[in-house]
Structure formats: C-alpha cells, structure tokens
C-alpha cells in the first residue's frame, strides 16, 4: 500500500464532560487521590533509580526516538515489509481503517472458528476500538486475563492508567469486586477471600486458569512489530499474556500501525527503554516474540489486524506525528502532577495523562468538549518530556494543539476578545504604560491592602490572596533614578476611543482591560469557563 487513508475514529469515552469538570469530581475523591499519590510516588522513585544506573540514558533516548521516527517517516514501506514477512511465515494480515472494521474482522474470525468466547492479552489498541463491547454485542464473551484488567472488567469500570489500569482501586475494593462478580462469569471467588495481595492473586489465578484451558481463540495487541522479520512482541509482567499467546489454537493480534520497528536491533534499544521507564525494572519478567505460525507449537492460525483508526491523520501532521513515537510506557503519567490529582478518567480515553492530552485530540479531532479541553490539562511544567524515553516534546505539542483549538473557535469568545485587547496593549510601550497607570492607581487607592475578592478573579481568589499592584512600576522607578520620562507622549495612546483594531473586537477600553489582565499574572480574561494488588499488571501492549 502506498498511502494510508484518512480515517474516522472510535468514540472511546465520548460524551465526557470537559477535563476541568471531570477533574473537579476526581479531586473530591480523597481515596483515589491518596491511591494515586502513593502509587505514582512509588513508581517515580523506582524509575529514577534504575534510569540513573544507565550510563548514556540520553543516547538511548535519542536512539529510541530515531528508530521510531525512521519507521514513521517511511511507514507505508515498513508496513508492506511487515506484511510480506508475516505472510511468508504463515500469518494472515488484515487492514482495518477504523474501529468498526477492526472489530468486524475479529468477530468474523472468531465466528468462523465456532467460538463464543475469547481470552485477551492486555491491549491498549483493543480498548481504544472498544472490541470487548463489540464482541459482546455479537454474542462473544471476551475475558481479560491481565490481573488489573480483570479487576477493571469485573468492576464494570474504565481503566485509569496505561500500565496500572486499576490504580484507582484499593485492595478492599478489589476483594469486594471479586466476591461479587467472579461467580457470575466463571469460577467464583473463595468464600473466605481476604484482601491480602497473595490471596487476591490466587483467586484470580484459579478463575483465569479455567478460561485459558478452555478458550480456542485469543486476542492480543503487540508492543512492537518488527518489519524485517515479521515478528510481533508482547512485553508483560505476569505471564498471563504468554498463556494466551501459546495455548489457544487461533491468535488474533490487533496492532496499531505505529507499532512497527524497522529491525530487531531497534527492538534491543526499546527493550532497554521500556521496562525501566514503565515499571522501574531493569527488565520485565516476560517478553514474548512470535513470528507467524510454528507447526506443532502454539497457535496454528495467526491473524494480524493492522489498525489505522486516526493514525494516518496524526502522521500527516509534521509536528503532531511525534506523538506516534509513544511506546505506552506510562512514565509521563507517573511524573505528571496534573494526572496525579485529576486521575485517569478525566482524560476521557484509554490514553490518559500527558500523552492522552496530546494523542486523543489528534486521533479524534478537537470538536468534543473533552477533546477541546485536553490541550489545556497541563501546567506545561515539562516533567513529561523529561521522563519520556522516546523524547516526545509533549509541552510543545500541547501548545500547538491549543493554537488549533483557538483557531477553530475563530475568535468568538470573551477570552479571544480580551487576548486581542491585551495584545493591542502590549503592541506599543506607550499603551502598556497607560494601562500600568490604571493599575498602579488601583494600588495607590488600596493603600497596600490585600484584596480578598476581585470581580472576574473568582477562581483565583478562592484559595489565594491577590497581591495588590504596587504604587510605582519598574519603568517609573527607572525614569526617576536613571532619567527617562515614561509618561512622555503616552496620553494619546491612553485615549478610551483608541480601541484595538481588528476583527470583531469590541471597543472595550483597552487600558482597563489590559491592566486587569495583567494583574492576574497572565490570566487574561478570568474566562467564563473558569467560574463556573492494583499494580499487578504487565506492560501495555
């Protein structure tokens, strides 16, 4: 294939409120905040220690980014190579443009095998396309076998972390879910189950074993797909994935097209980067690699579904395509102060945290409420970029997406009007000086008293005192000490009739507006919006 067609995408978690509203609810959940703060702090410390051991970590990151870029820049070629090598080794390759096509392919193969259930290896791609729901609608039961995914599935819940999907649950909640739900879908939990991690793991093992031994069809994803050998790779911690990859007769792997790597050499780079970044381990316990069909050993029928689902749209964007380098290690989530407090569900997708904030609006577009708000779900502190093993400059991508959101709104908001007014004010130092005079005048009138509430600054003053403007600006001080008169020639610019020129801006007195914006610390237009055993799993695949 020479070109990837542009796709419609799945609607995972859509109909979500904006990030801000979802985050507000999450912040009120003190149990979840405690779980998240504890879990992310623990894994941050582990990660920092094992990353610190590697000499030349930075070189590895550069190599990882380069390998992914090479694959992405020549994606059609590498995909063709992958397809040819997979086919030569006895696998069947399918192409899916979107979620509906991918789901239908899996359904058709499962039906052709006469099966009414599948066992599943933890897979972000199948969550993204909501395969479990599609299978259920087709009368096929899908059993998650990753322990954390099992908890999420039995709890009729959504994953909230890439690597630790049940990070928001504690042991007591997990025990309760097992006791309540296991019996309905297979072997029941033991009557005397406690919330000790070993007992919970044991209950899950017994429950899952029946399913492993019974299932004829397994569904997986892949962490990597090696073009020059036709090898798929799954990286995990528990070994449950390997049970699925080896026991059933038929294996269907749904693989995002961005998972391709040129060669096995690139894989060695990735296998140094991934476990350290994700679980803070030097190497993960299980790495499974399979190349097509091996007669007499493992699944005798191997299908690979290569999934686009919006990826070619992302790839077409020269800047945004960097997000496709992501190897789903979740390091960016674990260092993100916003994720730590708002939780994973607020991102409205199986891809939460900083990478979700840039990937979702790119995969799905920025038309929904949640996708419009995601680029703003960051303080741009840069911790995600620092942690990312493939050097995705997430803060820069967020800024770019914000520009897209603003451009799409085409200037029709109170915020846009104040931004234009502020830009007009900063466009000339005399206008700025006039605005400052309005501001310092306020400072003089208040006589240094602290403001407790300022109209339009509701959100700010809710928890913080607002500093009063000083009675003298820096430039006034400079003029008085170093001899330059800042008031000279400023008056014509301060005229209230001299509004900002340009489209659709009200003739608001820009000096007033500018001064107010300014005092809020860059928070122009306190805009309308502002008022108003969990870690048991293996790596993502």
């Amino acid at each position: 294939m020479s070109e990837l067609p542009v796709q419609a995408t799945s609607a995972t978690f859509l109909g979500m409120p904006s990030f801000q509203r979802a985050a507000k609810d999450a912040l009120a959940n003190t149990q979840q905040r405690r779980n998240l703060a504890h879990a992310t702090a623990t894994i941050r410390t582990k990660r920092a220690a094992v990353v610190g051991e590697v000499e030349g970590w930075e070189d590895l990151r550069v190599a990882g980014a380069a390998a992914k870029d090479e694959a992405l820049h020549h994606l059609p070629d590498y995909l063709e190579e992958l397809e040819a090598n997979l086919t030569a080794r006895g696998a069947t390759v399918h192409w899916a443009r979107d979620a509906a096509e991918a789901n239908q392919i899996v359904i058709d193969i499962t039906r052709a095998k006469g099966a009414d259930e599948v066992v599943k290896v933890k897979s972000m791609a199948t969550q993204e396309i909501e395969l479990n729901e599609a299978l259920e609608a087709a009368g096929i039961a899908a059993w998650e076998t990753d322990l954390a995914e099992l908890i999420v599935q039995l709890g009729h819940d959504r994953p909230s972390h890439i690597l630790v999907p049940a990070i928001h649950r504690n042991r007591a909640e997990i025990r309760e879910i097992f006791v309540r739900e296991m019996g309905g879908v297979g072997r029941a939990a033991p009557e005397d189950l406690t919330d000790e991690p070993a007992r919970l793991a044991e209950a899950a093992r017994l429950h899952l074993r029946e399913k492993f031994l019974r299932a004829k069809v397994a569904v997986s994803g892949a962490n990597f797909a090696i073009a020059d050998t036709g090898t798929l790779v799954v990286v995990e911690s528990e070994g449950n994935g390997r049970m699925c990859l080896t026991l059933p007769e038929t294996l269907i792997s749904v693989v995002g097209v961005e998972k391709v790597l040129p060669s096995l050499e690139d894989l060695s780079t990735m296998l140094q980067l991934l476990p350290r970044s994700s679980t803070g381990e030097r190497m993960n316990p299980y790495t499974s690699m399979w190349t097509g069909v091996t007669p007499g050993d493992g699944p005798q029928e191997v299908h690979v579904v290569l999934l686009d689902n919006g990826r070619s749209r992302v790839l077409a964007d020269e800047v945004g395509r960097e997000a496709l380098r992501c190897i789903r290690c979740s390091a960016c989530l674990n260092v993100c102060p916003v994720y730590e407090r708002a939780g994973g569900h607020a991102y409205g997708s199986v891809y939460p945290g900083p990478i979700g904030a840039v990937l979702n609006p790119q995969l799905r577009g920025t038309s929904s409420e949640v996708d419009k708000s995601l680029p703003y779900a960051s303080s741009l502190c840069g911790a995600c970029f620092e942690a990312c093993p493939v050097r995705i400059d997430i803060p820069a991508l967020l800024v770019k997406l914000r520009t897209q959101v603003v451009d799409e709104a085409s200037g029709r908001s109170a915020e846009a009007a104040s931004m234009k007014a502020a830009a007009w004010m900063f466009g000339d130092h005399r206008r700025m000086e006039a605005a400052q005079r309005a501001s310092t005048l306020g400072g003089r009138l208040l006589g240094g008293r602290t403001l407790r509430s300022v109209p339009g600054l509701g959100a700010w003053t809710q928890a913080r005192d607002v500093p009063t403007p000083p009675t003298q600006t820096f430039r006034q001080w400079w003029a008085s000490t170093h001899g330059d008169d800042p008031d000279a020639g400023a008056d014509e610019a301060a005229s209230p009739v001299a509004g900002p020129t340009g489209d659709g801006v009200d003739e608001a007195t820009p000096d007033e507006q500018g001064a107010t914006d300014h005092r809020t610390g860059g928070g122009t237009a306190a805009d309308a919006e502002s008022r108003d055993p969990r870690h048991t799993s293996g790596e993502s695949s």
């Binding site: 916003v338 407090r341 703003y376 911790a383 620092e386 005192d465 300014h518 809020t520 610390g521 122009t524």
Partner: protein, 267 residues
Amino acid sequence: MSATTAGTEASPTSGTAARRAPRVALFATCFNDTMWPEAPRATVTLLERLGCEVVFPREQTCCGQMFTNTGYADQATPLVRRFVDVFGGADHVVAPSGSCVGSVREQHAMLARRAGDTGLEREVEELTPRVHELSEFLVDVLGVTDVGAYYPHRVTYHPTCHSLRMLGVGDKPLRLLREVRGIDLVDLPAATECCGFGGTFAMKNADTSIAMGADKARHVRDTGAEVLVAGDNSCLAHIGGMLDRQRSGVRTVHLAQVLAATEEDPA
C-alpha cells in the same frame, strides 16, 4: 565590605566585552514591571554593583508567553518582532524571570516559523544565545557565584519548572544562594514538582491548580523557612497567595532581591 570587592573582581569573561564593563539590556518583563518592580530593581542594583552597565530599553513590553501558551499564536507573533527590534543590538539581555526567558528561547523561533517569516526566524536565532535568565548570566557570563550578598534569614528555594526544565539552569541559583552571608538555606521537599501556576492553567483548571499549589505550600511550611525564594514572580505569587491566605508567616522573595541585599542595604 567584601561584597563590593567580590563584585568588582568579577571581571567579565565574555570575549566581546573583555576590556570594558559588560553592557546589559534589562528585560524587566511586563509582569515584573507592573506587579513586582522590586525584582527588576534588585536586578539593576545587583548588576551595577557587579560592574555592569545596565540599560533599560523603554520600548520593551512583553515576550508573548501568555498568548503563546494559551493558544493565541497570532497575538504573540508581533511581540516576537518587537522583542527582536528592541533587544537585537544588545550584547546581553538579562531578565529576572525563568519563564519569560524560556518563552524567548523556546518559543520565539517556533512562532516565527509558524508565521513563515524566515527573516525573523534568523534574527531570533541570532539573538537567543545572548538572552539570559539572571542566575545564568551571573554564573556563566560574569563567572561569579559570590555576589557579595548578605541575607540573614531561613530560606528555602523553589526551582521553577521553566528555569529547571526549559532553560536547564541546574543548580546555579543554589550555588549563588549558598554563597550569601548569613543565610540559612534549607532543602524544599519535592522541590522539582510544579507549583500549579502555569499561566492561564491557574484559571482554566483552577481546582487542579489549587490542589497542586496547596501541596507546594505545605512542603514550604514543612521546612520551617521564613522566606520562599524563586526566580519567577508568577510562581511566587501563586504559592505566596496560598501561604498568605493560610497566615503561614512565610513570605516570598525573588532571587534577585536576596542577591541584591547587603548589610548596608538589606532587603
């Protein structure tokens, strides 16, 4: 006192200015100019004490960070042009703000590129290496860590995200603070974690921002420091606003003010 001696001894190390006092164009930043004039004032005092000739180009306004980071690139681009026009001829541009210097260094070229203005992009790239955050200028260009300051208070330091990650100032501010006479410098727990200000983030995601700021304020209180120091007044306003509201008894002071303070002229 030794303060002034240290200053005058710090001969300029940059090649072009080897035989004369370094000429510094101060970028006060709009935010400091209007709301926290003490920081650029202290910067002037300090740089003059260290033998620099300081000028303040009055035509300067704003680096455009607030616009860029909120998605208003079209509003930010003329400010890039203005910045280059105002500061293009300077030997050194120094600002008492890590985030504004970060915006100049990391975003101006991107904005020029986006506008398709290759001439502007070239000018930005030519100017950028001469734009410094205060601690970088002192340590890298002037080659001093002892600036002769005296500040007899218990202090903890918050390394703001943009200084730390965008600019990579490393431990330069701490090296400067450690040389201050009389200072009792204590480590801040979880120092590298964001305070939650983030410009318009504090408005658009007020609840999350407050949760982050509250944790930062708690860490500051845990140190028992009476002064919180940072190189960015926006972060200090955010954390300080919380500390004030909590009647914590901790005040916030810009790094420049600590470094400018002497026994004769205390802060």
